[in-house]
């Protein structure tokens, strides 16, 4: 945000608007639309009046101007700038502001020819707007009180049957429309579980009333996709807006139909904010901002079409000083922070960086020796050297294999122990040998053969039906949660049921066969196109947003999908893996949820995600090289300590975000800090938790700290919310207590080697928090030396216990 712009005139304007005085007489202002047409009795038109304050910034004047008409009785306008027709005729809307006046022509033709309302194009939106067909009401699978509508109006014909034919026609009654049940219930004139959905004078009521009165008919060819009234595009104005605390902006939503006609649907659409704490929006498209800073998205939905408005809420009065850039990542991050008025935090101390980069990259705490060495290293590029060393360590492959075992749902009880091991070995090899990610993805999608031999075949063992395989791969590798489109049009995406079942068509050739000498193997040969579950139309297999490709009867159809996926112009794969890695290392995805990429869920920093995606492609999907770029950025190396300007920022990476440590990594960290390895039930000694492939191994620690049960391909499965049981376990569990007092453990060893209190404290802090204690901490810990005197073992045990229970230990910061 240009809060201290170069141009002093602009600055004055800004101040004026920040103060909310509205004294902007010298500014130009605009009003629209330039021509207002109201062709139906229920038509309405949202007028927008605004002024441009700078290149980026405008001010909504709609609710500050004075409206009147040159010709009374033709149309009405309310104080929010919504025009409705009163009688056929022409008039002009006169807009007066600060002594200036503008006029807009208005034409009402609502009653000269009464074209009847269409169930599909006029009534379904009413049911959606009123919430009748929402998932919590009549839209849920079993309906509500015997009245079932398709969710979001995805099946108009069935909805028509439900409304006009079922319940012996009581729901609509053309002879006396106002006695229709839908109107009586909708207005809560008779008891309605869902309460009052619309008023008796509302346009929703009017539309229903007129449709019922004219016979409650279903228009012919209603859902034919070529209908000229089909909405093909939405235009939302404005598409982005910068607001101050307590600011507001009226939206105007226009639907364009196939015939090119524009209809104002502001009052018929639904609006949602993704950050209600920052900006909320009401049912008529008025955005109001709070005094928090950041960014919010307003989603507008109308008839299977969606679009968004990005609301920026900058922090006023902050001049962001751009720190040195380590690489291109920082440039993009600073750009964003400058816009928002968040000053980036300082570079993290070596100790913080050290612990963070170990935990993030290899899921392992640095030992006290490693910490000493790194902290004492005078090399200026020691951070880069460390990053390079870590990426070559064995734990790198172990740790990433573990994470992908979770994502690939390697549940040993479902796929068998041997297959789980086979998958783990394959994953380790991919990461150890740094196989390019596009090849890993290709290998996963086209896996065939015996699941017990090293390889990714068992990934398919739990996926079953073709559409389950399709949607899991879509979410995992393409970042598209297409699951919603199984049963209805995706509510916030362009994906339809046709897209869903066409994608599933790639997985119809898979079968299990017993092949002599190879045992039970998975094969994919040929396959068939699937049918649309509602229309019965055969859908040629095709990838998301792609054209279908002719396929022979015997080839592995999945290969066509995989080839499409790894093309360098594929819009999904690189972006998805980039976002996954970013989320892992930075604590939050550029897109959140990380596997939910869609136009209506853009990244918090689109140019950055774009640049990173390009970088990934240029690196030919070399994960280690990409990780190196990430870790070398100053953004990754920022301190978690916030300053006065950026404490509230949780999505723009102005400071390091704290991350929970996963169950496996935390258990390993406790073992390493105490110097006592865990003995896993039925496993030989010496295994670390991140190496355990058996997701069913009973472990109280894993249960309490939320190890994934591998039921879905969603990263969200791992609960990263701490719980009280975790705190109790760390405080009191006998298992942890035994590690602290173990005869071969760290505490006793330190007691045996005791020289001075300072040396003992150094070692205890290094092995837990990877840093030396501060003076205040030495003072605090002296109490232990005072109480225990020469019992150094007790000293070490008690301090170790306290450090293991510090939040600094349990959190990656």
């Amino acid at each position: 945000m240009h809060l201290l712009p170069k141009n002093p005139v602009n600055f004055a304007l800004l101040l004026a608007c920040c103060c909310g005085s509205g004294q902007l007489a010298f500014a130009e202002w605009q009003a629209g639309p330039s021509q207002i047409e109201l062709p139906h009795p229920e038509s309405s038109q949202q007028v927008l009046v605004g002024t441009q304050l700078s290149d980026e910034r405008s001010l909504d004047l709609t609710r500050r101007v004075e409206f009147s008409f040159t010709e009374p009785g033709v149309a009405s306008i309310n104080d929010r700038g919504l025009i409705k027709p009163l009688a056929d005729g022409n008039t002009e809307l006169r807009i007066r502001y600060e002594g200036q006046e503008k006029t807009l022509p208005v034409r009402v033709t609502a009653w000269q020819e009464t074209d009847s309302l269409s169930f599909y194009h006029d009534i379904i939106p009413v049911l959606s707007k009123a919430g009748c067909n929402s998932g919590g009401c009549h839209g849920k699978a079993e309906g509500q009180k015997g009245f079932k509508l398709s969710i979001f109006g995805s099946d108009p014909k069935a909805d028509y049957e439900a409304i006009a034919r079922e319940a012996v026609g009581r729901r609509v009654w053309p002879v006396a429309p106002e006695q229709s049940l839908v109107l009586l219930k909708g207005t809560a004139r008779i008891p309605h579980g869902g309460g009052k959905r619309f008023g008796p004078d509302s346009e929703l009521w009017q539309k229903l009333h007129r449709w019922i009165g004219s016979g409650a008919k279903l228009d012919k060819n209603a859902d034919s996709p070529s209908s000229p009234r089909e909405t093909v595009r939405l235009i939302l104005e404005p598409e982005q807006v910068i607001l101050d605390g307590g600011g507001s902006q009226q939206l105007q939503l226009t639907a364009i139909d196939r015939a090119g006609q524009r209809h104002c649907v502001t009052t018929m659409a639904s609006f949602e904010s993704n950050m209600e704490s920052m900006a909320r929006v009401d049912g008529r498209g008025l955005i109001e901002s709070s005094d928090l800073h950041g960014e919010a998205l307003i989603l507008a939905r109308y008839m299977n079409n969606v679009t968004v408005c990005r609301v920026t809420l900058p922090q006023p009065g902050i001049t962001v000083e751009r720190p040195v850039e380590h690489n291109f990542i920082d440039g993009h991050v600073w750009d964003k922070l400058e816009r928002l008025g968040f000053q980036p935090s300082a570079l993290a101390a070596d100790t913080t960086f050290l612990r963070r980069v170990f935990l993030d990259t290899i899921g392992t705490l640095p030992t006290s020796e490693e910490a000493r060495q790194f902290l004492a290293d005078p090399a200026v590029d020691k951070r880069s050297q460390l990053i390079n060393r870590l990426l070559e360590r064995g734990e790198y492959a172990e740790y990433w294999a573990m994470q992908w075992l979770n994502l690939l749902r390697a549940d040993q009880r479902k796929i068998g122990a041997q297959a789980t091991v086979a998958l783990q070995r394959w994953l380790r090899r991919q990461f150890r040998e740094n196989r390019p990610f596009d090849q890993i993805a290709h290998g996963l999608v086209t896996a065939q053969g015996n699941p017990q031999m090293e390889g990714p075949v068992s990934f398919y063992s739990t996926l079953g039906e073709p559409d389950i395989a399709a949607r899991s791969i879509s979410q995992l590798l393409l970042g598209v949660r297409i699951e919603c489109a199984q049963c209805h049009h995706h509510p916030s995406e362009k994906w339809s049921q046709a897209d869903y079942w066409a994608l599933a068509g790639f997985f119809t050739g898979m079968k299990n066969k017993t092949v002599p000498g190879f045992g039970n193997v998975l094969l994919s040969q040929g396959g068939k196109d699937l049918e649309h579950p509602r229309t019965g139309e055969t859908l040629a297999a095709r990838a998301l947003g792609a054209e279908s490709v002719a396929m022979s009867g015997t080839e592995d159809r999945r290969r066509v999908l995989a080839d499409w996926m790894v093309r360098h112009d594929n819009p999904f794969l690189a972006k998805t893996v980039v976002n996954r890695l970013w989320a892992h290392y930075l604590g939050r995805g550029l897109v959140e949820p990380i596997d939910d990429m869609r136009e209506t869920n853009p990244a918090t920093n689109e140019p950055l995600l774009e640049a990173l995606t390009q970088h990934m492609i240029e690196l030919n999907f070399d994960l280690k090289a990409f990780t190196r770029t990430l870790l070398q950025s100053r953004t990754y190396q920022l301190s978690p300590t916030t300053n006065t300007s950026n404490a509230s920022d949780m999505q723009n990476f102005s400071h390091a975000l704290q991350k929970t440590i996963s169950a496996e990594v935390l258990l390993d960290a406790i073992c390493q800090a105490t110097g006592v390895p865990e003995e896993f039930n039925g496993w030989p000694a010496g295994y670390r938790a991140i190496q355990i492939w058996d997701n069913r191994m009973p472990s109280y620690f894993f249960r309490v700290f939320g190890r994934p049960i591998r039921a879905t391909v969603c990263e969200c499965e791992r609960s990263d919310q701490p719980s009280m049981s975790q705190a109790l376990h760390l405080l009191n569990a006998p298992e942890i207590s035994q590690k602290i007092t173990h005869r071969h453990g760290r505490a006793r060893r330190l007691a045996r080697q005791y020289e001075t209190p300072d040396k003992m404290l150094d070692e205890l802090y290094l092995c837990t928090l990877s840093r030396f204690p501060k003076q205040k901490e030495r003072d605090l810990m002296s109490a232990a030396f005072t109480q225990h005197q020469d019992d150094h073992r007790a000293v070490a045990e008690d301090i170790l216990w306290a450090l293991l229970n510090s939040k600094e230990f349990a959190v990656n910061h």
Binding site: Q721, A727, E777, E808
Partner: protein, 447 residues
Amino acid sequence: MLKLSLDQKRRRHCDGISRRLALRVGAGGLISGLTLPRILELQAKAALPTAPKAKSCIFLFLEGGPPHQDMWDPKPDAPSEYSGPFKAISTNVPGTFVTDQLPLCSQMADKYTIVRSHSHNDNGHTTGYHLLMTGHKAAFADGDNPVPNNAYYPSLGSIVSRSLGSRGPVPPYINLPHPMAAGGPGFYGAQHAPFVIDADPSQPDFEVRDLFPSGPGSSKRQSLRNQLLSGIDQLERARNHGPAEVLSKYYERAYSLITSPNAKRAFDIQSEPDDVREMYGHTQLGQCALLARRLVESGCRFVGVDAPGWDVHFNCFPSLRTDLIPYADRAFSGLITDLERRGLLDETLVVMMGEMGRTPKINAGAGRDHWSMAQTIILAGGGVQPGRVIGATDEHATRPVTRPISVDDLLRTITTLMGIDPEKQYYDPLGRPIPIVGGGDFIEELV
């Protein structure tokens, strides 16, 4: 955690709290320390026409499927291969009969209400359990499943925990004496998982895991440890945000649990006088029921007691006669008597049921098999009108002849009695709004 409350979409607004106010409360909560549970509690209160009576719920789950006809729904006129060996006896409520295996409960039938017309269509143990605790059909086959088996849909206990939060030092949702198979938090996440007491309170060495320091033994050393840790907390307070801040809050709750004499007492079943322990029976179920009473006294919202052993396929009558029914009879009657004596019955809803009833006809192995078409549910306290019989089954106790009470009806009734709006929706990871209860009707005859 707070984000969810802020993003919560409520379609129906009530007079108590507008969405806007809730938002402001929510946003202010970030700073002022208004907790999520508190906000939810305010919201939930606002949603109900009258103030709810039940502050807590004790859910006694007779796992395996208790035979309704051998306990609460006797059919003395049916042929003996249906009616079984037990006789019908009159209770202290004229006209209400139960079997002679319930001597204690039969003398206090004016304290609870019998619902004989519960019915659903899932005959599996783990799947039926899932259906009952979540209101949703299980997506897995019956049999060998992880605990918890409700990976997606939250259990009733987690719903109560999330909606009402804690009202004392003990956690809001507790399972004993082991986790309930379908008692998990589903997509609500670990913070709504049950606190599991994985120990049998009828054992003399009963102890709650991780509740007491297992460390140095001497209290002097423990207080040194606490001193060091609180010193660290002081020093690191400034850096607490994000997960550290959340963890820190749970640490505070853990401390208060460990250190509050009140909380500690809640778990200390050994301090109960012998006659009280005797009243509940020296059985796992009896002592679990007693511990449950102590826990709700200390503010727990939902105690789920899992009492296994009811899957009586073979030669069932000896074990029903000597072990299963007398234990349940004593535990339930003891619990109701005790709650009433302490003035807690009005604010504590007690539910006793299993995942299903059992087959009307005795099988060739002298047992009864799974029968989800009919089951009897016992409800007491928490605003339930006592002394009633709701619904009836046919002459063989095969199916309800009155309106069948569904799982959704039951879940809707329990949540409503506790002041939770069953229509309220939470968003799942896909962004779909999932209502607390998907359908059903409040069982009006209960109040």
